[in-house]
Symmetry: C2
Subunit: 411 residues, 2 copies
């Protein structure tokens, strides 16, 4: 009987690896021994080892009114927040997007909440969703929680370019078999690899989606853009992808998962949004109906203090300008670390996956014990099937030399 | 095709009434006309119309370290938080409970997150859960989101005492039919009625649950204790119910939903917990497995600043003593308002439902247009089938006289 205290759909949920837990262990180990290198979690840290928080966030937090701090957040988000998300996400492509698409913003508990709601609402129980073979492992857990499976395509071809051929094959096979395609792409600055798709890659991908949509198959494209603000290019260039989105077929639903955690270093607050876009108004009405419902029925509402702070940054030009300056500093931190990493990797002849920005760099490995081997040498990373994920966000410049040689030793 | 962009299980989710949205409308109306009486939402306000925030919370919030504020919250909760929840929930019955039960605390996004995770994990798709006929309407939405239905029993008998007979009949019929009983009781200070079960009521309820459990039927009892700290009795007396819990059959899983929103006026932060208790260790292991998984796969983690603040209040006697003083003031606010409400109701011969504490008082009505009729007279309440819910938490003493006569006019 005790086997069935849980519902049938929950019988097999077992969290095999929890990145946040491994990261807690790494922090504990580093507290005991400062020589330990903690390259586990996606929270940006400065060279002095302290969290990279935004002064503008801190300052706004300290001056919120009681309603801005303690009240329940408005169910559909404050105007400052929700309109701000649209401005921020699309940048200088906003006008073209607004002209072409119906849009809707639903605040969620971080980017994870956006993914979780989307996977649950836009799949049938028992469906599988499509993701690349290197993926942020919680995708699998979020899918399993929604009683949805995972199928993968090869992210890279033999030249470590985007593998359009395998993507096309897998997408078509899955879509035709189950008469639904739900695709998640974490881009740019892919977690766990650091890979960035080009605008042309996106055009190719969208051409495949359009072909399937025109067969009458529901197609849902989730663009997980968590690390978009940490790409090694300008704000404008990082948003170039949305030019490709203009070509989306009428009946496709695209959902952009925005992460306030990453963009504003507000990791522990739990704020994000799902931004739905479709040329078909009825589809956005469906997006609204089920999305609002899920927010209310899963976590009731989202972090009010975080929504207030982000709304102010988005809507007040002076706050935005302070923020942009700090964001530059943040990106420079990562730029210096990846330059150092490249230099050391070259010296050690360590092959790494192509990096275009973000918190993580990936190294492929065939060592099944890589995690334990590295821990013995005082290095904590996240091991995933076939690769390790190294969080540049949480290592210091001065540690990178040692980090790379230890990795080289075990990889 | 657009009909099926969503999964089959999400086809019929429509949010008919959203309390938070109605409350936003009420606030907007009051901003235009201060004569409007806003008796909609469960956030405690002072006599000057301002939020009743806790000074101890405010002070701790302003002095958190960066990790306490910005980092992801520990997945299983900080020790200060999780142990503190156990101490706080059980009060002077803790030792007896700890001796008798296996316990586990899982932090959630408010009490709602605890309910949502529990309903999803401990029902099969298509099951129905049991609740009283007067209920907080989001229960129905949370169930629908989890693809679970709702059946009700009559809360009151003809004397407005707990209707054990109808409870017993409905519980047995449902449990035997579907071979599972998932029961939610919001007590004490029931939302929406203000009703409080006695310890003897709980003993009777648990006797029924035990009978079903001994037939080999999985029984899950969710005790939604959101308003327990606002009962019109001492902390000790409000926890007396847990004496009855000692009698729970070995194979029953009880889950207490703790609401940090209510207990600490941190509504907009989204913090709470589900506290699992069972005499069967294997059942608590299941509770842990699926609960941890749901947290990670639905909202990733919970509010770190809120967990930090509450952990400090729970673990530092000087902070706790400051908090308890303020809590007394909060309860006195409600005590004065209900006294005034009783006085006015008697004068107007308005029959109200029995009130034992909490933010809400209920009045039965057969007027199907009650909401609109009251709004025309400048009064916002929450209308539910057969009754209205009046939030004492958000009205002033000086408004109660007028409030009661307007209600009397339309009820």
């Amino acid at each position: 009987m005790t086997n069935h205290i849980v519902g049938n759909h929950a019988l097999n949920k077992v969290m095999e690896s929890n990145i946040l837990k491994i990261s807690q262990e790494a922090r504990a180990a580093k507290a005991l021994n400062p020589e330990v290198i903690d390259a586990t979690v996606g929270m940006l840290h400065r060279e002095d080892g302290k969290l990279f928080k935004y002064a503008v966030v801190e300052d706004l937090l300290q001056h919120l009114t009681d309603p801005e701090m303690y009240y329940y957040a408005p169910v559909n988000g404050s105007k400052e927040f929700s309109n701000g998300v649209i401005d921020w996400v699309f940048g200088n492509h906003k006008d073209a997007i607004v002209k072409t698409f119906h849009l809707s913003v639903i605040p969620t508990t971080g980017g994870s909440g956006a993914l979780s709601n989307s996977i649950y609402n836009f799949n049938d129980f028992g469906n599988a969703m499509l993701i690349p073979n290197y993926y942020w492992t919680p995708y699998e857990n979020i899918a399993e929680e929604a009683h949805v499976g995972v199928e993968t395509f090869q992210l890279y071809d033999e030249h470590y370019h985007f593998n359009l051929k395998d993507f096309t094959q897998k997408a078509k096979a899955l879509a035709i078999r189950q008469q639904r395609l739900f695709l998640i792409l974490n881009d740019p600055c892919n977690n766990p690899t650091g890979f960035c798709l080009s605008k042309d890659n996106w055009k190719d991908i969208i051409a495949v989606l359009n072909e399937l949509s025109r067969m009458g198959i529901p197609v849902i494209l989730v663009h997980d853009s968590a690390y978009i603000d940490y790409q090694m290019v300008s704000h404008e260039l990082s948003r170039e992808v949305y030019e490709a989105f203009l070509e989306l077929d009428d009946n496709i639903l695209a959902i952009i998962a925005f992460s306030g955690s990453k963009t504003f270093s507000m990791y522990g607050f739990r704020i994000g949004a799902q931004l739905g876009m479709s040329k078909n108004k009825a589809i956005i009405e469906e997006f609204n109906r089920v999305g609002d419902y899920s927010v209310r029925a899963r976590f009731s509402s989202v972090s009010r203090p975080a929504m207030s702070v982000i709304g102010k940054i988005f809507s007040q030009p002076n706050q935005m300008s302070l923020y942009l300056k700090e964001l530059n500093t943040a990106v420079d931190l990562l730029r210096n670390r990846i330059a150092k990493f490249h230099e050391c990797a070259e010296k050690e002849q360590l092959t790494m996956l192509p990096y275009g920005g973000g918190f993580f760099v990936g190294v492929e490995t065939k060592n099944p014990n890589i995690f334990k081997d590295l821990v013995k040498d005082g290095v904590f990373i996240i091991a995933m099937p076939g690769m390790i994920r190294i969080a540049l966000s949480s290592v210091k410049l001065s540690e990178i030399d040692r980090l790379v040689s230890i990795i080289k030793k075990h990889v």
